[in-house]
């Protein structure tokens, strides 16, 4: 395995980590607001708060890790993506800033405010939409490079069915991942009412998420045939993804094995996300940038990988402690602590 592959695998894994933890967070914000509007807030509010409060800051770090890591491993990406993404990137930053700080204001600061929870719910859907711009433009066709000036073609981006497809896919996936996790969390908390409501949310968003996945798969064929062809070579990974989805939904439907169901949802997205990523290689930005021409020097690559391993040795036990205290501690989850 070359350093380039190690580098991109590390980064992709972090992005996957962000996809899962951030989805739970974003979806939770939306459900929290939605249930408030439908006067069911009291049912799930505590469950969501109890889970989110200790982890909201950790979620953010996954994203920081990814964008710091990608500039470290592939400095050339800073030039292309940095120049092209000024506006969508800034919009995402502003949304993240509003969301993060207003979460803290609402939770630790003043009393419950409708306006704060609206901001929290709305940004939960807008952030994934704005972040997907990066994935969309990586397919090529949305960037022009003339006389050394990189520019994002907004006309192309906003009129493209593919880019809208990805946005919708992101939103429905967020809601599905989040609802399936919260269903599991509610079942651990033995909170029957919350479980019922969240289970219904999970089932509502199951079908849209898989259907959108298929639509985007098809649209990608139109947008970037080369990438589509290599995706077909990895058809078995998409098959694993589909089976995992089907079994997970079946469990939730049958009201059993909520924990396994959530793990299967993770497997579903893991398989699809890595199959998508692997077939995208060697391009980081089609057709301008591959992982080979954008790679950092060898010394830095070794140093980064060493730092990464050392960091993991520190982080994994800490994360385990965090989960033991707040996720797998029955007393805490059930609200007795």
């Amino acid at each position: 395995m070359t350093y380039e592959i190690v580098g991109i695998t590390v980064l992709w894994t972090f992005l996957y980590g962000y996809l899962i933890v951030a989805s739970i967070d974003f979806g939770a914000g939306f459900f929290s607001y939605y249930s408030k509007r439908t006067k069911k807030n009291h049912v799930i509010h505590h469950i969501i708060q109890r889970y989110l409060s200790p982890v909201w800051e950790v979620t953010n770090v996954f994203l920081v890790f990814f964008f710091i890591g990608i500039v470290g491993f592939f400095p050339e990406t800073a030039y292309y993506y940095g120049t092209a993404l000024l506006i969508p990137g800034s919009v995402a930053i502003i949304l993240l800033a509003i969301r993060g700080s207003y979460y803290a204001f609402a939770t630790y600061g003043s009393k419950e405010s409708n306006f704060f929870s609206f901001l929290y719910g709305a940004t939960g859907l807008l952030i994934p939409a704005s972040l997907t711009t990066v994935l969309t433009i990586s397919e090529g066709g949305y960037i022009s490079q003339e006389s050394g000036n990189v520019e994002l073609l907004y006309g192309e981006l906003f009129s493209s069915p593919y880019s809208w497809g990805v946005v919708i896919l992101a939103i429905v996936s967020v809601l599905f991942i989040s609802a399936s996790f919260l269903t599991y969390y509610a079942s651990r908390a033995k909170d029957e009412k919350a479980l019922e409501l969240l289970r219904r949310y999970a089932l509502t968003w199951a079908a849209p998420s898989i259907i959108m996945g298929m639509i985007v798969f098809y649209l990608l064929g139109e947008q970037n045939p080369t990438h589509f062809a290599s995706m077909l070579d990895l058809w078995w990974m998409f098959a694993i993804s589909f089976v995992a989805f089907a079994v997970a939904t079946f469990f939730i439907w049958k009201r059993r094995n909520y924990g396994t169901a959530f793990i299967l949802v993770c497997v579903q997205f893991f398989a699809a996300f890595f199959a998508y990523g692997a077939s995208h290689l060697p391009y980081l930005l089609y057709p301008y940038l591959t992982i080979y021409d954008g790679f950092t020097n060898e010394t830095m690559a070794i140093a980064l990988i060493a730092a990464f391993i050392a960091g993991l040795l520190l982080l994994l036990p800490s994360l385990y402690l965090l989960m033991r205290l707040f996720l797998f501690d029955a007393d805490y989850v059930e609200g007795r602590k």
Binding site: L63, V64, L86, I87, Y102, A104, G109
Partner: protein, 449 residues
């Protein structure tokens, strides 16, 4: 705006807006965990619930500031690539490692901060809970350490070779531990502690000035002023070393800070004053030999003057005002905290007298102002370089046509965040005054005259 659109200028303003706003929260974000740890430790050692409550209440307010620190820090991280893509493309080869490690330190801190905040009443032993704040202190300080090495590298780039604009033979550790690193890192970390001590001290002093006689506030003030005095002395020592560093490696920055035009030995230090249109220094206080001593330790040290540099490589001379503000405030903080400690130590003297309390109150905002001034001096002092000696700031900026709109958007965002932060913090502590919390927790509220 009143000037022509120039992505470089707008990128600089936006970067300053983000960093200037972020550094307020980042500074106290590094300093406050240490103060919380000390307070909780005192609470356990002296078996004094006042200190424990102090740690608790500080931690509660701290979360609000951390949230803003986190989101603006994320903004800064992304803006580096968005506003300075050409710089990151080049420098990414050498600063990738410390930035990556900073993210690790931040991760570590985030995990334990979450645990710390939610386990106040969960463990039987107070000691167990105290141990959880240690990783938070380490994580906060380590992230300051790593990110400051990146800034030190921009001031003193080394650990690579540049051939025709292409970087090769990179040595990441040599880049990280460059000559600017020791003074820069120690100066940043110790002033973070100093600022946090004064910000927290100012809160207690305000209560005392309002006539509150609770022992709680007096203990808070005592704790913050003792630590403040220690850090102020440390800051002065590191400041002296920083002067020697500048003399050796960035003489143009030192010369600009001191309006030192002629190369000479026995150079005087210039305090205050202003520069007229003929570059004559007016109304300044001159301390003979002091600049030579600051630069090299002896009056005979020859200090290079501004006239000996290529004018194209010189920073703007107004950095002097910021340098002076930083030094003056630093001395004021040292004086105030040492005076408090001294008066407290002398039997029969009242350290809680009105004038001294007002000085402590002023010390809170002033210390933040000193941080701003210090950073403005450090950053503008290395203009026109983004990578000192290698890359001009104008070569590093984005070519995008929309930085102006982004600037207005972000300015609005920071204004809103700043105002909400103040409102929320005020509400939080006014609604739940310490007397009520002591009563609720069954802590004796002694009053001291």
């Amino acid at each position: 705006m009143f000037f022509e659109y120039d992505p470089v200028l707008y990128s600089r303003i936006l970067t300053y807006a983000t960093l200037g706003f972020h550094v307020i929260f980042a500074t106290i974000g590094v300093g406050i965990p240490l103060m919380i740890a000390i307070a909780e430790w005192m609470g356990i050692k002296r078996n004094d619930p006042h200190y424990t409550l102090l740690a608790r209440r500080w931690a509660r307010g701290f979360v609000i500031t951390v949230a803003i620190g986190v989101v603006t820090g994320t903004a800064m991280g992304l803006q580096l690539s968005l506003l300075w893509p050409n710089f990151m493309q080049t420098a990414g080869h050498t600063i990738g490692l410390p930035m990556f490690m900073e993210a690790f330190a931040f991760f570590f801190e985030a995990i334990f901060l979450g645990i710390y905040l939610y386990t106040w009443d969960r463990f039987k032993s107070q000691m167990k809970h105290f141990l959880l704040v240690i990783p938070v202190v380490i994580g906060a300080t380590a992230s300051a350490f790593f990110i400051t090495t990146v800034n030190a590298f921009m001031n003193m780039p080394q650990g690579f070779e540049m051939i025709d604009g292409v970087i090769s033979s990179v040595n990441p550790l040599e880049a990280m531990f460059n000559p600017a690193t020791p003074t820069k890192v120690s100066h940043v970390i110790i002033t973070c502690y100093l600022t946090a001590a004064f910000v927290l001290g100012a809160i207690a002093a305000v209560r005392i000035l309002k006539g509150n006689k609770s022992a709680y506030h007096k203990k808070a003030l005592h704790l913050t002023m003792v630590t403040g005095a220690v850090f102020a002395i440390g800051t002065a020592l590191v400041g002296d070393l920083s002067g020697k560093y500048l003399h050796e490696y960035q003489p143009e920055k030192l010369a600009a800070a001191e309006w030192h035009f002629e190369t000479e030995t026995h150079a005087p230090l210039i305090l205050g004053g202003f520069l007229d249109s003929d570059n004559e220094v007016r109304f300044a206080l001159e301390i003979p030999y002091a600049l030579s001593i600051l630069a090299g330790g002896t009056p005979g040290t020859e200090v290079t003057g501004l006239n000996d540099f290529d004018p194209n490589d010189l920073p703007p001379l107004w950095v002097h005002y910021f340098f002076d503000s930083m030094v003056f405030i630093g001395m004021f903080l040292a004086f105030t905290s040492i005076l408090f400690v001294f008066m407290n130590w002398k039997k029969g003297w009242n350290p809680f007298n009105r004038p001294l309390m007002m000085m402590v109150v002023a010390g809170g905002p002033l210390s933040i102002l000193a941080i701003q001034s210090g950073w403005i001096f450090a950053e503008v002092g290395r203009q026109p370089w983004i990578l000192n000696g290698f890359m001009r700031t104008s070569e590093g900026a984005t070519t995008s046509q929309h930085v102006d709109i982004m600037l207005y958007l972000f300015l609005t965002l920071y204004a809103v965040l700043g105002i909400t932060c103040i409102v929320v913090l005020r509400k939080m502590f006014n609604r739940n005054p310490v007397e009520r919390e002591m009563e609720k927790r069954g802590i004796d509220n002694q009053e001291i005259e």
